[in-house]
């Protein structure tokens, strides 16, 4: 799967794209693959304040739950509500139709610490760790 160059990546397998002061957050194809069969996405309410490292949402698969962490401080402005009923777009298109939340960023410093695509892919090679 093509991982977008404009996104930044975390070692915990989130991706984030910052446009102006709005950050779009999702999880990588590696995360989706390793969670296995997805059954439910537990999304936050719009307006929720997030701190860096705080759980933004949870992805339930049959056998596991994956927590998705916000890399930044900010406020949730939109969620991909359709995923709550049908997580299929997350499995099929994690960098497009499978985006999770949009955050209006009040402090972007956490974003600057994320990896670019090449560094993330190197991380995947060195650590087969989820």
């Amino acid at each position: 799967m093509k991982r977008p160059d404009k996104a930044r990546y975390s070692k915990t397998h989130e991706w984030a794209i910052l446009e102006g002061d709005v950050l779009t957050l999702g999880v990588t194809d590696w995360a989706v693959e390793h969670l296995g069969d997805l059954v439910y996405v537990d999304l936050p309410d719009a307006g929720k304040e997030l701190a860096p490292g705080e759980t933004a949402c949870e992805i339930e698969s049959v056998k596991a739950v994956g927590e998705v962490y916000s890399p930044v401080k900010g406020k949730v402005t939109a969620v991909n509500a359709g995923l709550a009923d049908d997580p299929a777009p997350l499995a099929g298109d994690p960098y497009g139709k499978g985006w999770l939340v949009k955050i209006k960023v009040s402090d972007a410093s956490g974003f600057k610490g994320l990896l670019d695509r090449a560094a993330y892919e190197k991380h995947l090679e060195t650590a087969d760790a989820g």
Partner: protein, 369 residues
């Protein structure tokens, strides 16, 4: 044992056929194949799933005192098991908590015990320690046998294509002998760990790939450990290390059917005492409000007070909802009791539900056990 993962005779086959391999109890095992856990559960419930169970352990007890020795270690009344029949049993500590749960096969002149993969080191040592001085040989045959399972309503038809044993007259929790592919001697039992009809096969390791591929060709579909765990949870079956361990007794885990309190065995005295006083907690099912899944270890509360903990939880593809088992205080272990589960910091409402969550519609021919 070192750090290297052990392989079964089928490990290479799994890896070459789309399995995601994971470490499990020291073995490299398939957790799922390419179609995923939900599809694999559907196959087991509707068709026929194939399981590589070579990682599980198998002991054979023989010798003049083998029945008395087995009866000293096992909670089930082994001497009363008819030849050719199988019973579920526990191995208990003197405190009545659980060392392992096993299936006991009563054969002519011997007793076969199928143990968990996690018990392969501890169980043989436990048997030897607790039968010292008796006339019994305890042989670990785990590495000298392939163990496979077929599970699902189409299992008898598929196994029948390559096994000459009389499967139609083999009742649930009974075993027989036959040949696979006309040449491999096998012990065949009508047992399993999914809640479906099915069989478990024991035969020589060098025939593993040939038999497995013949079962696949006959319509069996490989199933990984992920779907196996979902199926056993749907069927309300305990998994060692989760519903039972060295801190939980079989009476608490609702496994009374595997315990004969009328005979002497290691742990019997403690269990009789607990039975007299009443168990302090019991294993129950949880019916969960919403779609978030309670996972092992989540705290269960009643009116904000500690009530127990979740032992296993999964999403059930068969029922299309989350299911969980929990050990809760006996006073709260009533069907319909309203409790909450702390799901990663947020309380979710649950109701106590009778186990199992799922049971197959049994056909008259295969009922019993």
């Amino acid at each position: 044992m070192g750090d290297a993962l052990r392989k079964t005779p089928l490990t290479a086959w799994h890896a070459a056929h789309g399995a995601r391999m994971v470490p499990f109890a020291g073995f490299e095992m398939p957790v799922q194949y390419e179609h995923g856990i939900q599809e694999e559960v559907r196959v087991v419930r509707n068709e026929c799933g194939l399981f590589d169970l070579c990682h599980m352990g198998r002991l054979v007890l023989r010798g003049g005192d083998h029945l008395a020795a087995a009866d000293h270690v096992l909670s089930q009344n082994v001497a009363k098991i008819p030849e050719g029949a199988i019973r579920y049993s526990l191995i208990c500590t003197p405190d009545g908590t659980v060392v392992d749960d096993v299936l006991v096969y009563r054969d002519a002149g011997s007793v076969h015990v199928v143990i968990n993969a996690s018990g392969r080191e501890t169980d043989p040592a436990w048997f030897r320690e607790h039968t010292r001085g008796r006339k019994v040989e305890i042989e670990d045959v785990s590495d000298r046998q392939t163990m496979l399972a077929l599970q699902g309503p189409k299992s008898a038809g598929i196994l029948g294509k390559l096994c000459d044993a009389d499967l139609a007259s083999l009742k649930y929790y009974r075993f027989t002998r036959g040949r696979l592919l006309k040449k491999h001697d096998a012990l065949v039992s009508r047992t399993g760990y999914t809640g479906e009809d099915g069989f478990e096969l024991f035969f020589a390791p060098d025939a593993a790939v040939a038999v497995w591929e013949a079962l696949v060709a006959a319509g069996g579909k490989p199933i990984g450990l992920g779907a196996r765990d979902v199926c056993r949870t749907e069927a309300g079956m305990p998994l060692y290390g989760h519903e039972i361990n060295r801190e939980i007794t079989p009476l608490e885990a609702d496994l009374r059917f595997g315990v004969d309190l009328g005979k002497e065995f290691v742990g019997a005295k403690a269990l009789r005492t607990q039975d007299g006083k009443g168990v302090p907690r019991r294993l129950v099912g949880l019916n969960v409000e919403g779609k978030r899944v309670p996972r092992e270890g989540c705290a269960v509360r009643s009116g904000g007070e500690d009530a127990g903990f979740v032992t296993s939880g999964t999403f059930s593809p068969t029922l299309d909802r989350p299911i969980a088992m929990a050990l809760v205080k006996t006073a709260l272990a009533k069907e319909g009791e309203s409790l909450t589960v702390d799901l990663r910091g947020r309380d979710v409402a649950v109701k106590v539900e009778a186990l199992p969550f799922y049971s197959r519609k049994r056909q008259k021919k295969t009922s019993g056990g």
